[in-house]
């Protein structure tokens, strides 16, 4: 593995070396290392599609799986399907992410389609980071799709982060929750230049006691554009909360379109959305502490996205 690939791995998965536990590293479309463990089995897909199946047994307690994707070639496009089968009662941390370094003139693109089958009472923490760099004019495109199916009383917490670098992204997440299941999503996005990011979340709460808490915080700088579509359907005695909080700067443009559908009299659904520039008094307060206006702005953004 060369220095560039190591750097990308560090950015997306905080990996300095081969990780402990189960892992699968995908590099420019090829497998670059894989390890299964007694509780977590990683296999190539049985169909012809690119990608892997990950089987997490119910015996798994506090183990992790790393499945980073690294692309260093220009004009490389791929669509990868990863399916996670989490057995009843498992407790697992999954760290995914995609790093693209595109030095060329052509577009590099990664579309990852992740499907989660989360068994009863299972607990999953899913961390996903997207990072791109490169000194060419080639665009970096990532379109992650996450399809989550949760059985009774399971819990999935998803942290998804995309800070700069990615020129175009459509992030689609679908959740279907049975009774007592809980889905927590925290999204952080920073776009700059002429980047475009679209977030499309929709969650169906299909059983009593199901709950979803979806919070997106974003900063749109320069002439970048962001769109947010957040939809929660409450089909039982459930609770759903979605929040979209964006800081807009320069010539950027942010559109937030929330939707709540209550199909049961006991569904409790809330949406909050706020888009605005950094408050002048926040800048002033930090300037009275000795920061320049630019330093103040950086600190406010850093805090907002941390």
């Amino acid at each position: 593995m060369d220095e560039l690939e190591k750097m990308l791995l560090m950015q997306i998965a905080d990996l300095h070396k081969v990780p402990d536990g189960a892992y699968n590293i995908r590099k420019n479309g090829e497998a670059d290392g894989r390890r299964s463990t007694p509780h977590i089995r990683i296999e190539s897909r049985k169909d012809k599609k690119a990608g892997i199946d990950i089987f997490v047994s119910g015996e798994t307690k506090g183990e992790s799986v790393h499945i980073p994707v690294v692309i260093t070639e220009t004009d490389y496009k791929e669509q990868v399907y990863n399916d996670f089968y989490i057995e009843d009662g498992a407790d697992v941390l999954i760290i995914a992410g995609c790093g693209i370094h595109n030095c060329g003139q052509a577009t590099s693109e990664h579309s990852g389609i992740h499907t989660f089958h989360v068994g009863k009472n299972a607990k999953v923490k899913y961390v996903e980071k997207h990072y791109a760099s490169g000194d060419g004019n080639g665009e970096n495109v990532m379109n992650p799709t996450t399809d989550i199916r949760m059985e009774e009383n399971s819990r999935l917490e998803m942290e998804t982060t995309q800070i700069k670098g990615v020129d175009s992204t459509v992030r689609t997440t679908r959740g279907v929750l049975a009774a007592g299941a809980e889905l927590v999503i925290r999204e952080k996005i920073y776009t700059h230049g002429k980047q475009f990011a679209k977030t499309d979340f929709s969650v169906e709460l299909n059983g009593d006691g199901a709950g979803a808490d979806v919070v997106s915080r974003s900063v749109a700088a320069d002439s970048s554009r962001q769109e947010f579509y957040l939809r929660i359907d409450g089909n039982g005695k459930c609770h759903g909360h979605s929040e979209c909080d964006a800081i807009i700067m320069d010539e950027a443009n942010v559109v937030a379109i929330p939707a709540l559908a209550a199909n049961n009299v006991d569904a409790e659904l809330i949406h909050e959305a706020a888009i605005g520039k950094i408050a002048g008094e926040q800048l002033l307060k930090l300037m009275t502490l000795g920061l320049t206006e630019q330093e103040a702005e950086e600190q406010i953004i850093k805090g907002f996205l941390s």
């Binding site: 307060k285 009275t288 000795g290 320049t292 406010i300 907002f304």
Partner: protein, 237 residues
């Protein structure tokens, strides 16, 4: 030492101009100087002019002999002016530890942040990682605001109505904060206040009404007169 020389401030009020401050001059050369006066007399405007947040229509501000009238908020802060906001600012994402560290100008250890928070009567463990956002009450925010100016340890600190919103905390604690701050910095503290107990520790009291300095003298000279008249607008609040 802070010198305020012939400061005036005119604000647009619809189509007409309104004079908020008119030829205000005084010196802050003692440890505690209090400015008092009725609401709307221009006290907060004056504090903002000293901090550089507002630009005066005329006059000069000198800090230790240097004319700082043309300097920005940041430059004044770096030269040694601290300013505690009357209405503390909320930040989504920034934690109490972040804010106090930014105030100190360096990454503080947990125990350093704790000691500043303890001084303003907050149980540090409960607050250090909390965001300075709407989940904190007005009183908590106010004390964190005071902790940020404590952490700066600068030569001139301006408090704009520090007593507002600290009802659950005693005035005596606030006064102890001022005294400790002076002990550490040996600087000057300028406090805008209506509170008799705060005026009671001032070495000098300046009364501002209708945008002008009405009285300027030692506490012994000014305070009895203020207290004598219950009708005195300065203490009527």
């Amino acid at each position: 030492m802070l010198e305020v020389q012939h400061i005036s401030f005119v604000a647009a009020d619809g189509d007409t101009d309104k004079e908020i401050l008119d030829d205000v001059s005084f010196c802050v050369d003692e440890p505690f100087v209090a400015i008092t006066g009725p609401n709307g007399s221009g006290k907060s405007t004056l504090a903002k002019i000293i901090a550089g947040i507002l630009t005066p229509s005329g006059g000069k501000i000198l800090l230790d002999g240097e004319d700082i009238t043309g300097l920005s908020v940041t430059e004044r802060a770096r030269r040694g002016i601290s300013y505690a906001f009357q209405q503390p600012v909320r930040f989504k994402g920034l934690t109490v530890k972040d804010l106090v560290s930014l105030a100190a100008g360096k990454r503080l250890t947990v125990s350093e942040v704790c000691s500043y928070l303890s001084e303003v009567g907050l149980c540090a463990r409960d607050y250090i990682d909390r965001e300075v956002n709407a989940s904190l009450s007005g009183g908590e925010l106010k004390r964190i605001e005071i902790a940020t100016v404590l952490a700066r340890e600068k030569s001139l600190t301006v408090f704009d109505e520090p007593e507002a919103g600290i009802d659950l905390w005693s005035f005596q604690s606030l006064i102890t904060v001022f005294e400790k701050m002076h002990e550490r910095t040996q600087g000057n503290i300028l406090i805008i206040s209506h509170q008799e107990r705060i005026l009671n520790i001032a070495d000098r009291i300046i009364v501002i009404a209708n945008g002008k300095v009405q009285k300027n003298g030692s506490r012994e000279e000014i305070l009895p007169g203020l207290l004598a008249s219950r009708a005195c607008p300065a203490l009527a609040k």
